[in-house]
Symmetry: C2
Amino acid sequence: MVQFSRRLEEASLATQSLVCVGLDPDPNRMPVPDVFEFNKAIVDATKDLVCAYKPNAAFYEALGLPGLEAMARTVAYIHENAPHAVVIGDVKRGDIGPSGQSYAKASFGVWGFDAVTVNAWGGLDTVEPFIADPELGIFVWCRGSNPGSADLQDLTVETPQGRMPLYQRLASSCREWNTAGNVGLVVGATYPEQLEAVRNICPDMPILIPGVGAQGGDLEAAVRSGTDHRGRLAVISSSRGIIYASSGPDFAHRARSEAETLRTKINEILANEGLGWP
Amino acid sequence: MVQFSRRLEEASLATQSLVCVGLDPDPNRMPVPDVFEFNKAIVDATKDLVCAYKPNAAFYEALGLPGLEAMARTVAYIHENAPHAVVIGDVKRGDIGPSGQSYAKASFGVWGFDAVTVNAWGGLDTVEPFIADPELGIFVWCRGSNPGSADLQDLTVETPQGRMPLYQRLASSCREWNTAGNVGLVVGATYPEQLEAVRNICPDMPILIPGVGAQGGDLEAAVRSGTDHRGRLAVISSSRGIIYASSGPDFAHRARSEAETLRTKINEILANEGLGWP
């Protein structure tokens, strides 16, 4: 039995990479019409360069049952052809009681994800169903990469530990909930100060960091603030910046170039900190 | 063009009912194996007694693609055979940017819901994609019916209007966001004081109230605190208490009895308040 956080670290070691490729199929941007074929080409072209893939369920669901079928096929394809990689379902699910248990069953049993993003608005009750198996992990949506995330997440709350922004309070709760080594957090690269605050609260938990590509987050700040003290356990995710690097028949080749460039930049930042790969 | 809140009121007027039946298919409890056939029997048996149906997507997703296909067929069946009824997709979705837009497209365009429950953790950015069409509505998950909802939702936050529990702050935001008459809230019947507080903040918005059946919420308090000053715009939802009233071949008949009993009890409470149906 390998705890999820350890699995994630091994995935990074296998490719010397903190890069995650977001698989967000958009029919208006895909150079090939078939979602599975598009994803397959991206995976084939990038699998030696990344620690994780992150299909966002919203894009598949918007395509109806054929879209969701393509999502399931994509996950299975990654497990078979890039077995080192962790597959993170970006589903942002969360519900209570039997509904919450059903979402966990869907995430791991139906779609086959290794981990999912979770929306913890309903508290521990919404998180618990997803963390019963230490090998399967979650990333709790803590501080978004969008301006509107401030509406709730940055509100000042009163706690027994004093006043703090709500997202920091949630990060503290996640640390408490992480008794099995399989709880991580989502913090956008677009807000490096918030990322640093969360890393300080959760020094040894995985952090999934979207927003370095099309959303314009600061990569150097994301790497320095988001990794643990050893330069590990950050998953730096880019979707559109990689998979839509080209709208032509060279899309997979260009996706590889973008993924390689991102990996190289991250590894240079790590090396400058004395935290390169063994 | 009819605003969603008006559609909901007309649905209640048509059946003199605030009752919503939650369609949560559980293979371990359904007396018939086919999800669509089960739902069809429940709808046929209850359609003159309810204002809304509420399929919870979690249960369908846990059954994979056949489950989701049954969900889509169920929604279409209700539209055709109970055209007065509002179909609320209990999906608790919420994401930012193109992901949020994709969930809205899935909710209304793919599955065909009239309204969905939304998780607003990501702020207005996560809500906006769902409220572009005034005829289609949302219920923002404000205060859950589960004890764990207190973990975040009951925290005291500082606002320009003073200190208040977070769920009340979210209710205030929902009131601001409700410029098109299609934003409602979800508040559990298990916490009548919180329900009353939300109704006071949002006097003329729909409130979806789960938790009166199997979860043991106080029906009288839910009706008195949850309706508007005219005794309308509350959607009182029971799932397991109705659809699994019997595990035998009489399940649809028993579901009808339970729905009828709930409708009668609610209407007696309304009548005692002088708020009966015209």
